[in-house]
Symmetry: C2
Subunit: 198 residues, 2 copies
Amino acid sequence: MKIIMVGASGTMGKFISTVLEKEHEIIKVGSTSGDIVANINSVESIEEMYEQIGSFDALICTAGPTYVGPWNTLTDKEFRKGIEGKMMGQINLVLIGQHYISPTGSFTLITGAATHEPQRNFANASAANGAVEAFVRAAAIELKPGIRINAVSPTVIEDSPQYFPYFPGEVPTTMRALEYAFRKSVFGYGTGQVITPH
Amino acid sequence: MKIIMVGASGTMGKFISTVLEKEHEIIKVGSTSGDIVANINSVESIEEMYEQIGSFDALICTAGPTYVGPWNTLTDKEFRKGIEGKMMGQINLVLIGQHYISPTGSFTLITGAATHEPQRNFANASAANGAVEAFVRAAAIELKPGIRINAVSPTVIEDSPQYFPYFPGEVPTTMRALEYAFRKSVFGYGTGQVITPH
């Protein structure tokens, strides 16, 4: 399978790439490094990325910039970080990518536990996640039959302990569970699902 | 109670205003008419609205512009309608309104069944709803203790039969159920809830 990995230089992207590249062709996309450098905040950059890659079988996105910070200084301005990044960045990967994907291809986007389990300082991530999860359900009934779309929604992950203090009570997702969630989305047959690794 | 009704000239807003104004002071806000004319797509307009009103006990928003149209011509551009309107319009009503609301006040936003029950042509509404619902949960743990926030999430409503054909299988929400959902949010004690009228 030819798999595009957007966010390949991040903790999750690096891990999933390493796991999948044993059996698949992985095209690593990052904002500053990778096989292709692309900025998901830009429609033009996404279009250029797909033009370079051509047809593909799966896209996995683990990139999702959001604003993390105190509520009392949160305004429209800060909120835009998650809208342009994790929300529209991923939505545009699908709206544009559907014209390049193979007839049985799949999109796998990243959301997170904050959709339903809010944590302080993460309201922007909650909103972006909620938007992407609802979009995934909507896109599943709109994409050409055969093309699938899912989201993987982990809580804090094992390999990013620096975030643990911000997520009291959240049992960290193991990297193994994370891998299996992505496998389920890419190699399974479900669509419109929000997959929680556990 | 002094209640701000944003979207007062719409089908829902008019109905809820009529019901509540028997016992409460309703300040009707609309984009083209009302006690105050305001554009929720504009941070400046929202600020002006609150400056004119001063302290208040509850804000209800039933205004939520989104893009409705075919998936195959849906791009970033069309998607912005729901981002600026139903999503950021409502989020900014809260981020700004928290500085004007009374210490035991409440915000009630509008979402809709498309968050979890997608329908064709409504992907933009799904995403905006999902964002607002997750934001409501996040805001509930961030707002000053005593201030509450909920969303009301109806499906098609009884008094808007023109939308029925777009929502096959959705049992229309009665206006009575809609009224009670808003009553629950405004006069109850729950917070961070997505209330489905039934």
